[in-house]
């Protein structure tokens, strides 16, 4: 079966590897195919970035950076069976890590939630978690080194197995495991300090 061409056929479902390979090759030459890549993955990338930053404006800016970086590096991308989503998450991780490094000092003081808009607040109300609890959790996460934030986010937020996290970050499985343990310890310390 050929690849999806029209907007109505774009689905957020996982595309099978052969289709994904064809889509990538087409996206290198055809802007419309790249738009399909964008539509298929923008939600996953946005969700990952938002869970790490907790700020809508920052998320929109970083998501934009992720897809422009993907566009720039796409001609050099060689499909080797690694899902496109993982490649995009790797780019997103680099973007968020850079952002986190620049803003880490700012995040060491309690976050007052001013970056969140009304929609964020309502979502939090729906989930039954208070703004304070969420802010506390956010400050604790953002106080960690970006590499620890990344392993926690990919493993616990995105639900990726350690092997896939290792593939995205270009690390060994053992390194990811030890970073996860260390990250949890650091997060616990940050929570203790914050109370």
């Amino acid at each position: 079966m050929g690849l999806v061409h029209s907007e109505s056929m774009v689905s957020t479902k996982e595309v099978v590897p052969q289709q994904e390979r064809e889509l990538i090759e087409r996206a290198k030459r055809d802007a419309a195919a790249f738009a399909i890549v964008y539509r298929l993955h923008v939600q996953a990338v946005g969700r990952y970035v938002y869970r790490r930053t907790g700020d809508l404006n920052t998320t929109e800016e970083l998501v934009s950076n992720v897809f422009f970086t993907a566009l720039k590096t796409l001609p050099r991308f060689r499909y080797r069976g690694v899902p496109l989503r993982h490649w995009l998450l790797r780019i997103a991780t680099n973007e968020v890590n850079n952002w986190a490094r620049l803003n880490r000092r700012r995040h060491s003081v309690p976050w007052d939630g001013s970056g969140a808009n009304e929609r964020t607040s309502s979502v939090n109300r729906e989930s039954g978690v208070s703004e304070d609890e969420l802010a506390e959790a956010r400050v604790a996460l953002l106080s960690l080194s970006p590499k620890y934030q990344a392993v926690l986010a990919l493993h616990y937020f995105e639900g990726l197995p350690v092997r896939e996290v290792a593939s995205i970050l270009g690390l060994r499985v053992g390194t990811v495991k030890s970073q996860l343990t260390r990250a949890r310890e650091k997060l616990r310390d940050a929570l203790t300090r914050g109370r």
Binding site: R47, R51, E60, L71, N124, L134, E136, Y156
Partner: protein
């Protein structure tokens, strides 16, 4: 320990449960991406055209050079000649080389020589010594 374990899990769960409230699809960003894509492909195509044109110029130049006797000229760079022990200038030479694994037979069919500036002009006759060095390979 369990309490601490639970607090870490609780924090991770709280953050995980935050779904991105942003739009799933931003038409402006998509349009910008498509425009950037077209510029990128166009730049690549132009680059390829320039490289193709440059190769064509080099190829045509090479054919023209060969047709204008350039190969003969190049061959003269690899030979030196002496007339009665006096070094002279090789103006042009028709050289063929037959080569097997061990030996090379160099045949000079025609050679035009002239005296070096400041030397007396060449006279008819005399012993001509031709030395061929690092001659280009021929089929």
């Amino acid at each position: 320990m369990n309490k601490e374990h639970d607090s870490v899990n609780g924090v991770l769960r709280r953050l995980r449960d935050q779904d991105w409230p942003g739009s799933s699809h931003n038409p402006e960003l998509e349009e910008s991406l498509m425009q950037a894509h077209e510029r990128q492909v166009s730049r690549k195509r132009n680059k390829l055209s320039v490289i193709t044109a440059a190769l064509a110029v080099v190829l045509l130049g090479g054919v023209g050079f060969a047709a204008a006797g350039g190969i003969e000229l190049v061959k003269t760079w690899f030979i030196t000649a002496e007339v009665d022990g006096r070094e002279v200038i090789v103006d042009s030479a028709d050289i063929t080389v037959e080569q097997d694994d061990e030996t090379a037979v160099v045949t000079v069919e025609n050679i035009e020589l002239s005296a070096k500036p400041g030397d007396p002009p060449l006279e008819e006759g005399g012993m001509v010594t031709i030395t061929v060095t690092n001659q280009p390979e021929e089929d």
